[in-house]
């Protein structure tokens, strides 16, 4: 479904300095799969996701979606391809000037769908995400979880083949995270939607993803089926992540963001020793 070959992204700053965000990335996301991209902050995982719908233009390499090369697309052709992909965001990015109903209707509006069809579709989606009673509410009147539900409904409005999730559950509490992941999983199962999910939460990957790629400093260090990779981690990065989650499980707390984990990790080892 999505094939990424030798992808490279270099950012050039104002003074001409070069930052390599992605280097020689090769990935294959199968149809109907929930694919996780996990890695520490600044590893390039969001950049990678954003290359798929060309919010970020890769410097080199190829991305094909259903056999169509997307890296060279511009203007109208790009907009058509983008309408076949939904995207949800960490901070939801809803239009504050629009109600839930009109936010969900937005992608239909821009692709010129009739009012009658829009109404039917939006009502369907409101029911799907369980927000029928919030149709007239503005984003400022919704909770984080509800906002992300609106985001999901909006992303699904045009019946996309692919859903891109950029840290979609990172701003939510653990319970809401589980419910949003549950919703994504059921959508994946029911509609066969392919989902690509960027996250730093191992929990999220464990709960929802069939396959996962671990990315560090712009390179994919490991990829495979989630159960296999997590039961036999082949690299330090992956092991580091898994240790994190064990801390969370053992201490019963919510687990922390990678990057500020050194202290947590050493404490974790002690805790685990105690328990064992």
């Amino acid at each position: 479904m999505i094939r990424i070959r030798q992808l490279q992204k270099v950012f050039t700053d104002a003074r001409g300095g070069r930052v390599i965000a992605l280097e020689n990335v090769n990935l294959h996301v199968k149809r109907g799969e929930v694919f996780g991209i996990i890695g520490p902050s600044g590893a390039g995982k969001s950049t990678l996701l954003r290359c798929i719908n060309m919010l970020e233009r890769p410097t080199q390499g190829s991305i094909t979606i259903d056999g169509t090369e997307v890296t060279g697309l511009k203007g109208r052709d790009l907009r058509i391809i983008r309408r076949q992909m939904g995207m949800i965001f960490q901070h939801f990015n809803l239009l504050s000037s629009r109600t839930t109903y009109r936010n969900i209707a937005f992608p239909l509006e821009i692709s010129g769908v009739s009012d009658y069809e829009t109404k039917e579709r939006v009502e369907q989606l409101l029911a799907l995400v369980g927000l029928e009673d919030k149709a007239k509410a503005y984003p400022s009147e919704l909770s984080g979880g509800q906002k992300q539900r609106v985001g999901i409904a909006r992303a699904l409005a045009t019946n996309p083949k692919i859903l891109l999730c950029d840290e979609a559950t990172s701003a939510l509490d653990p319970r809401t995270t589980r419910s949003i992941l549950g919703l994504l999983k059921s959508i994946n199962k029911e509609y066969g939607l392919t989902i690509v999910m960027v996250t730093h939460q191992v929990e999220a990957v464990k709960q929802a993803c069939h396959s996962v790629a671990v990315i560090e400093r712009g390179k994919v260090v490991e990829q495979g089926r989630t159960e296999e990779l997590f039961s036999r981690p082949g690299t330090e990065t992956t092991r580091g992540f898994l240790e994190n989650i064990r801390v969370a499980e053992v201490s019963g707390g919510s687990f922390k963001k990678p990057g500020d984990t050194c202290e947590v990790q050493s404490r974790a080892k002690e805790v685990i020793k105690d328990v064992c």
Partner: protein, 209 residues
Amino acid sequence: MFVDALWQTVYMVGLSVVISSLWGIPLGLILVITDTGGIAENIALNRVLAFIVNTTRSIPFVILMFAIIPFTRFITGSAIGATAAIVPLSVAAIPFVARVVETSVREVDSGVIEAAQAMGASPLQIIVKVLVPEALPAIIAGITLTAVNLIGYSAMAGAIGGGGLGDLAIRYGYQRFDMRVLAIIVVILIVFVQGTQLIGDYIAKKVTH
């Protein structure tokens, strides 16, 4: 006497607000979208427009008013009277509105613009359906500010026979030392400015969600 002058001021300021909004809003939007990283990046155009806007804003209103008399005459056929005053008032207010709109539109969350791009929105759709509605409360607050400034400017326009409250204040109050007339005009102006601000605040609140 007062009623006529008030209506002249309302007419001058009202029409100037409308004209400067019609020109200033698109100009402000162009300043945002053509800037570095904008949705229709065009640095050359951006710099030229920014230069024109800054230059116009640098000229004190009294000077501008006299300087563009030939232009005013060309547009309205006359250089004196309330209608003629609308020309310099609008010319002064257009760059002001443009800057205010530019600032408001820049405040729109870049994530929301990105979301619209990800959905396949065209640049025009982003302007009409995202930038303007999302920035609307701030744009309205800015236009209210412009209107209040224009009330002040319109008094200066009175100095070249623009009519309105300013003209009355200068002729009766200042030149004939009639403090009573002057006081009444000041009171009318205070009420007028307060009213304008209240209406603006009310509309801005209506469109804020």
